[in-house]
Structure formats: structure tokens, C-alpha cells
Amino acid sequence: MRVTQSEIYRNFVADLEKLNSNLGSISRQFSSGKKVTRLSDSPSASAVLVSLSKQQSDLEYHRLNVDAASLFLTVADSALNEVNNLLTSVHTKGSQAASEILTAEGRAAVGSEIRAMRDQIVSLANSQARGHYIFAGSAVTSAPFVRSGDAVTYHGNEEVSSVVIGDGLEVRQGVPGSNAFDSVFRAIEGLLDGIDSDDLSAIKASLDQFSSAFSDLGQARGQVGANLGLLRNVTVELESQKVGLKEQRGLVEDANMAEVVVRLKEIETALQTTVAAGGSILQQSNLFDILG
């Protein structure tokens, strides 16, 4: 086969062009640390990245909901605990008031102590987090418990919102205030009635009502505690999903640096050899040189 000089030059240039283009794509991988730097590098990996990005974003928003629900439930939990302690004190004071040793004045003094504690309970039942009345059901914009005389009435509703915290997983962000506190306020109101009328048997009868108040409170605390427990598990789960997604993403888009470095060296070597070989080919003499 006849080989012409211009063919040799052309092939040499084409080889260099190819090597340089490989070098370009490898050094893109090297500097970005990613093997997919263009959609056309791997169309399927690019499409997978779109769906992985969505999963990561979903996870992020679920985590934000977990944080918000945790805040509401933690505030609710501590309010319920506090109310439980206060109710125990009210009950103790009520037992003192039921004693025959106490004078009418002494009983009235106990009554005002109980009222102070009752007011504290009202304020706890109207607890807010992020400007949101947590025991109001969905009527979150106004205080759910309103006292008039010794009667405390509930103005919220039974609708406690639940939020999505995972695929097909929701959590209720609290308990309706009526379930937790209605029996509490009724019991205290009965007790105060007995104290005000200085009626020992009425006081004793009202103290019996406290057991249902304690049980309602306990049930609410149980629900809140269970949901907090769920959130703790979900937090761990979301964290591990996050790590999993990150790993998956890495597999799809991250360059294997060891491989990239080796490839880079290979191409560099090929480039050097080609340039060296090309140099000597280009300088190769033809008959004209020898003929002089």
C-alpha cells in the first residue's frame, strides 16, 4: 500500500486529537470528582440522579416535619407533666381542706392556693410553640381554654393535625386539649365549689372525681410519649436512609479516583509516546535529504 507523507501527518494529528479529547474528559472527572459531568456522559445515570435528588429532597422535608412535630410533642409532654404535678398538689391541698381540723378561714386560704395552681394549669393548657396553641386542635390561632369564674371551657376542636414524616407514615402532632384537660378542670371546679360552701362531704365527693382526671391526663401523656418515641425511631431511620441515598448517589455519579488517576497516567503516557513518535516521524528524512 502506498503511504503518503500527508497521510502520516493527518493520522498523527487525528491521534493527538483523540488523545487530547480523552485527556479532557478524564481531567474533567479528576477535577470534579464526578464521573457524570454531562448528561451525555451517561443518560441513564443522569435520569437516576433526578429521582435520587427527589428522594433526598423528600427526606429533607420529612426531617423538617419530624423536627416540628418533636417540638410540639415535647412542649405538650412537659406541659402535661407539669399539669400532672400541679394536679397532685391540688389533690393534696384538697385532702387537707377535707380535714375537720381546718377552720373555715383556713379552708378559704387553701381555696385561694388551689385557684392559683388552677390558673397555672390554665396557662399550661394554653401552651404555645411557634405561636401555635398546641392543645387547641386545629383552632390554633386563639387560646383554647377560657376561664369564667371557676368554670374553664374549651374553645378548640378535636381535630389534631397529623403530618407526613415518611413514605405513607404520619404522626399526630399533639392531643386535643378537651381530652386531656376537661376532666381536670371539672374536678378542680367541683373541689372549689365544696371549699367555697365549706361542705366537707362535697369536698370529699369531689376528690373522688380526681381519679378520672388523672387517668385522662395519663392517657394524653401516653399518646404524646408514644408519638415522641415514634419520632425518635423515625429520626434514626431517616438518618440511615439519608446515608443510604448518599451512598447510592455516590455510586452513580462519583468517579473512582484511583481508576481516574490510573487512566490519567495512561493517557499522559500515550500522549507523550505519541508526541515523541510523531516527532521522529515528522523529522524522518525522505530520499530528497539523501540525494542532496
Binding site: 454531562r38 448528561l39 456522559d41 433526578v50 405561636g131 393535625s161
Partner: protein, 459 residues
């Protein structure tokens, strides 16, 4: 038996022949690096008159293979298309990559995510404001991506105009060369071969631009047609492409009075039109479909809820009214948030209190609804578009590399036939030089012989 004097005549012809052959060699060496130059070889024959050889005659033979030329022309057309396609798709690719992931994907996820977040505290005005700003970002991202792709589309359109100018100038050049070659045809002169080289060069440049087929007629002219048999050059007349601006603002092609916009299959021109109308056209249509579907579905769900004040929800986005009812064209470029007061976001179920989050959750869930066909969510639709853009770009890039390889091997074949090898020329020079010297010596010998006769006769 020839006489002494006729021997001188033969020697004169031999000298002229070697000289001529030397001049060919010189021309070959001079054109050694011209890729379109066709090597010339001296062919020696004898001229015989009345059974008597009168010495050598030389004519030129150009080492040209028309099938190779034809093959190269075909590959150039495909390369022209692949190159321009790959180039344009790389720009689209860069638009879609964005920094740190794909902007539109993120904008959609953040928009629905802001509703997920709002569901935790639906009455919160800060979270409501966040929904509005994420909706704004979504609209802006659609606009940016859409106008970016449109810019690439328009630059393809502009390129159609100057490619047509280039084509017209090349076809008229070929027509002129046809006339000149016809005049020089058969002379076997160097001029004819150089004209043919120039015409081949013009033809190859033309092949990169438009699909064509051609054949040479007996007159030496070539007739050039598009693959759809529409005339480009016949004898010394060329037929110009012209452009007409369509109602959509794109340039349409006219050739010989016909609309050939979609009839060009390869070459740069076909690539430009394919990218403009089919590739980018389809991507823009996908963006429009995505935007229109999101707008109508989100509005529909939003209207089912109640806002912060308990009023029925209105439109969250300005409803898209397609100018052309058969397509969503214009949806992505016109998407706009309809409300400015965050209280108007309908996060609650109809008639429910401000703390109700049912509708916010339902809107957030649209992200996972099969809005497109049987089982494609918005995100999957976008993933499919990303895949399409990626694989179109990859296919064009791969085709470009393949075509380059094929062309290189064809060019090598051609240059092995038609190219100039300097060693060969060096040997030719020696060959012709020696023959010239030998003929000159022969003249010297004849001279001394005739001289001798003259001496004898003169004495």
C-alpha cells in the same frame, strides 16, 4: 532502419518527454500537502508513423478514484449533521446540568416540599410566605430553562441563514467550474486536472452542508442534486436555496419553488433544522407539558381548600389558557404565581380552621401523583426528559466520532491512491534525469557521427 537524422528527431522527442515528466514531478512535490490535489503521473507511449517509431509521447494521468470521492462525499454529509447536532446539544446539556444538580428538579421538589413543611404549622405566615417564594422560584426556573433552550434554538435558526448562503455560493462556484471543465475537457492538460481538483474541493465542502448526490456527464460537468432529487447544479447553472420566515418565526427552506425544510436528511443544514425543530422543539414541548400539567393540577387542588381566613381557595398559579388548544405551547414561559398574600394559600380542608393542614398535605402529595400517562410523576417525567437530552447528545457525539474515523480511513485510502509520496517523486526525478542525460548523450553521439560524415565529405 531509421536514418541518423531521424534518430536526432527521436532524441529531441525523448528529451522533451523527460522534461515534461520532470515538470509533473515538480508539480507533484509542490502540491504534496494539498489534500485535494490529485497526483499526476506521466504515461509514456510511442508515437508510430508509417510503422516507424518516432520516439516517446507523454500524457498525464490523474490518479483519481471516483468511487472513493463519492464515498467521502457521503460520509462528509453525515459528519456535517452529527457535528452541528452534537455542538448544539452540548449547550442544552450545560443548561440542564446547572450547578449542584438540576435546577428544575430542585425547584419542583422544593415547591411541593414547602407544602409538606407548611402542613406542620399551617397558620404560620412565615411558612406560607415560603410557599409563595418557592412557587416563584419554580416559575423563574421554568422561564430560565425555557428561554435558555430557546436561545440555542434561535442560534440554530440564524445558522440556517448563513449556511444557505454558503451552499448557494458553493453551488454557483461548481456551476462556473463545470463550464470551465467542459471547455478544457479532453485536453488532458494540467489545467483540466486542477479545475477538477478545485471542483472536488467545492463539492466536498458542499457535502458537509447539505445532503447531495451527483454524477458526471460526458461533457465533464457534474450534475448535483439533493437526495430527494431536487436540482442544485445542472451544467453551468446553479439553483439557489432561499429562506422564508414561517409564522412561528423559524426559517423555512425553498428550493426550485418547493418547501424542502423537512426534506434535507444530512449535512449541516439538516442537523440545524433537526436540532431546531425536532430535538429542542421536543424538549420545549416537554417543559410546556410539565408546566401546564402542574399549574392545572395544583390550581385544581388548591381551589378545593380553605385559606387562612376560612375563605375558599382560588388559583395559586395564573391559569394557563393555551392560545392553540391542541398544544401547551407557551405554558412554561408564562407560568406565574397568582397570589401575593400568603394568607390566601388554601392549606386547610374546605371550611376548616386555620390550623387544619389537610389541603396542604394533598397539594404536597401531587408530587407523587401519576400526572403523565399511567405511571409517570412530575419528577419521573423530568427524569425521562433528562434521559432523552442526554442520550440525544451522546448519540450525536458518538456518531460524530464514528464518522470522523470512517472519513479518516477513506481519506487514507484516497491519499494512498491520489496523494503524493516524496520518495516516489525523488526516484522519478532521478529516473527522468538519467533518461534525459542518456538522450542528451545520444544527441552528442549522433552529432559526432554526423560530424564525421561531414568531415569525410568535406575533405
Amino acid at each position: 532502419m531509421p536514418s541518423l537524422l531521424s534518430g536526432l528527431d527521436m532524441a529531441r522527442q525523448a528529451l522533451a518527454a523527460q522534461q515534461y515528466a520532470l515538470s509533473l514531478t515538480q508539480r507533484n512535490v509542490a502540491h504534496a500537502n494539498d489534500p485535494y490535489y490529485t497526483r499526476e503521473a506521466a504515461v509514456f507511449t510511442s508515437s508510430i508513423s508509417g510503422g516507424v517509431s518516432l520516439g516517446p509521447r507523454v500524457y498525464i494521468e490523474a490518479a483519481r478514484d471516483h468511487f472513493l470521492d463519492y464515498g467521502i462525499n457521503r460520509e462528509l454529509q453525515m459528519l456535517g449533521k452529527a457535528e452541528v447536532t452534537s455542538e448544539a446539544l452540548q449547550q442544552i446539556d450545560a443548561l440542564f446540568r446547572g450547578s449542584g444538580g438540576m435546577d428544575l428538579q430542585k425547584a419542583i421538589s422544593d415547591f411541593f416540599g414547602s407544602f409538606t413543611q407548611l402542613s406542620s404549622t399551617p397558620e404560620d405566615r412565615i411558612l406560607r410566605q415560603q410557599v409563595l417564594s418557592k412557587a416563584d422560584v419554580l416559575a423563574d426556573t421554568f422561564h430560565r430553562l425555557y428561554s435558555g433552550m430557546q436561545r440555542v434554538q434561535m442560534s440554530q435558526n440564524e445558522a440556517v441563514r448563513y449556511t444557505v448562503d454558503e451552499i448557494n455560493s458553493l453551488t454557483s462556484q461548481i456551476a462556473v467550474l463545470n463550464r470551465e471543465i467542459r471547455a478544457a475537457q479532453g485536453s488532458g492538460s494540467d489545467e483540466e486536472f486542477r479545475l477538477r481538483d478545485t471542483r472536488q474541493q467545492a463539492l466536498e465542502q458542499l457535502s458537509g452542508l447539505v445532503d447531495l448526490t451527483y454524477y458526471e456527464t460526458d461533457s465533464g460537468s457534474i450534475t448535483v442534486m439533493t437526495q430527494q432529487w431536487s436540482l442544485l447544479v445542472l451544467e453551468d447553472r446553479s439553483h439557489d436555496f432561499s429562506t422564508v420566515t414561517s409564522t412561528e418565526g423559524t426559517l423555512e427552506l425553498r428550493l426550485n419553488g418547493e418547501n424542502v425544510t423537512n426534506a434535507i436528511e444530512s449535512g449541516k443544514l439538516a442537523g440545524l433544522i433537526d436540532v431546531r425543530d425536532n430535538k429542542i422543539g421536543a424538549y420545549l414541548q416537554a417543559l410546556d407539558d410539565l408546566a401546564a400539567t402542574l399549574v392545572s393540577r395544583v390550581n385544581e387542588q388548591h381551589a378545593l381548600g380553605s385559606d387562612r381566613d376560612g375563605l375558599a381557595g382560588g388559583d395559586l398559579f395564573v391559569p394557563f389558557v393555551p392560545p392553540d388548544p391542541t398544544s401547551n405551547a407557551g405554558a412554561a414561559s408564562s407560568i406565574k404565581v397568582a397570589i401575593t398574600d400568603p394568607d390566601r394559600i388554601a392549606a386547610a380542608a374546605a371550611g376548616a380552621a386555620a390550623g387544619n393542614n389537610e389541603n396542604a398535605k394533598l397539594i404536597a402529595a401531587i408530587a407523587d401523583e401519576s400526572l403523565f400517562g399511567a405511571s409517570q410523576t412530575a419528577n419521573q417525567f423530568l427524569a425521562a426528559l433528562v434521559y432523552r437530552i442526554g442520550s440525544d447528545g451522546k448519540a450525536a457525539g458518538d456518531e460524530m466520532l464514528t464518522q470522523k474515523d470512517v472519513l479518516q480511513s477513506l481519506s487514507n485510502l484516497r491519499s494512498s491512491l491520489s496523494g503524493v509520496n516524496l520518495d516516489e517523486e525523488a526516484i522519478n526525478i532521478i529516473k527522468y534525469q538519467r533518461a534525459y542525460q542518456a538522450s542528451a548523450r545520444y544527441v552528442g553521439v549522433l552529432d559526432s557521427l554526423t560530424n564525421e560524415i561531414i568531415q569525410i565529405l568535406g575533405a
